[in-house]
């Protein structure tokens, strides 16, 4: 069955963004990028919440035609162009990005249906509120948390609103020169 991989850049204290959505504290150098891009070979679908979706849609297609785009950025742009883009929203019916679809009115059922379909794994990135919902509904099969060398003290957490303690099992821990530690977990049960 296809797996949902959640990738988040987080602070040491677990925040995926500052209180006002700040992300300028995230370190994303070529080492971290190469690590993240290892997912390209095993995922064929991107899942985004509304804000992240709009951000991605307005940015990545421009990279495809940018003569100055870095090769690694181009890799991601090409991957995303071919991937199915899933927008999680309860208010939108459809979107005009190529190969896109909208889910959200019956999220658990819709995601489980996607997981049953043939294909590669599904990649949920950023999209903090959507990530919270996925976690709460038990829809995440792998957590990729890139722990940045900074504590924020407050901010937006993907673990906010948990109804019970979430227990995970560590799969790998990869420290990078820039101080980011890439942690991969699966649900403990």
């Amino acid at each position: 069955m296809r797996r949902v991989v959640l990738l988040e850049h987080v602070s040491l204290d677990g925040f995926a963004a500052g209180l006002n959505g700040e992300m300028n504290w995230i370190t994303y150098d070529s080492d971290v990028e190469a690590y993240v891009h290892t997912l390209h070979s095993r995922v064929d679908t991107a899942i985004y919440g509304r804000n992240t979706y709009q951000m991605m849609k307005s940015y990545w297609p421009t990279v495809l035609t940018d003569p100055k785009a870095a090769p690694s950025a181009l890799d991601h742009a090409r991957w995303l162009d071919q991937a199915t883009k899933v927008l999680v929203s309860r208010t939108v019916d459809h979107d005009d990005w190529n190969k896109s679809l909208v889910i959200g009115r019956n999220l658990a059922q819709e995601v489980n249906d996607l997981k049953q379909q043939p294909g590669q794994d599904l990649w949920l990135i950023g999209s903090i509120r959507t990530a919270q919902t996925f976690i709460r509904l038990g829809l995440v099969d792998e957590y990729w948390l890139n722990v940045n060398p900074v504590a924020l003290g407050q901010g937006q957490s993907i673990f906010a609103g948990l109804e019970s303690t979430l227990k995970l099992k560590l799969v790998t821990a990869t420290p990078f020169k820039c101080g980011v530690v890439g942690l991969q977990y699966v649900p403990a049960e």
């Binding site: 677990g14 504290w25 722990v147 900074v150 003290g153 609103g161 099992k169 560590l170 942690l183």
Partner: protein, 187 residues
């Protein structure tokens, strides 16, 4: 100069306790219990806030503590010098304790100048946060537990840029991360 080391078990969402202080989520194993005496051998003093001190003082001298922990830890916890910072506590009876009702920052600055080994803070969220804000913490040692609570007592209450010093993994999934503040600790 002596370093001040904050050493805590922390959840993936940055908590060192449930909202009511419960620690039932702790993930510990032999590696952790082997590590603690090693840690303590690098230090000669523990720094406490009142709440953690009272909890520890009512636990470590008991038969239950002796039963639940290796002697290497119980003995060290009871023997090592302890400083508790509190304006409300009137005495500190746990073996080798000293009560400091005065200014936290002033006393820690003074102690850092004295000869001796490092000083460790276990738990004690309020004094750890206060010292952190004063720039008096040299090392953050975090035993990152593979657990998220959703809410709890935060380890960090302000923004601090850090440098990763080391990372180790225990078999039970705890990741031991050591950081120094990017800005060197104040004197």
């Amino acid at each position: 100069m002596r370093k001040v080391i904050v050493s805590n078990l922390m959840t993936l969402d940055g908590s060192i306790g449930r909202p009511n202080g419960d620690l039932d989520w702790f993930v510990t194993n032999d590696e952790f219990f082997d590590d603690t005496p090693d840690q303590m051998d690098q230090a000669d003093t523990l720094l406490y806030g009142r709440v953690t001190y009272e909890g520890m003082a009512s636990y470590w001298p008991t038969a239950m503590a002796a039963q639940q922990n290796p002697a290497a830890i119980t003995d060290r916890m009871n023997a090592i010098a302890k400083v508790v910072f509190s304006k409300t506590l009137d005495k500190a009876d746990w073996n080798n304790s000293r009560l400091v009702p005065g200014d936290l920052g002033e006393e820690v600055r003074r102690m850092k100048q004295q000869p001796g080994k490092d000083m460790i803070i276990f738990g004690s969220g309020q004094i750890a946060a206060a010292l952190s804000q004063m720039g008096l913490i040299d090392i953050y040692r975090i035993f990152l537990n593979p657990v998220a609570l959703g809410s709890g007592i935060p380890m960090f209450t302000n923004t601090i840029k850090l440098k990763l010093l080391s990372s180790r993994t225990f078999k039970n999934g705890v990741v031991v991360l050591e950081y120094a503040p990017e800005a060197p600790a104040a004197v």
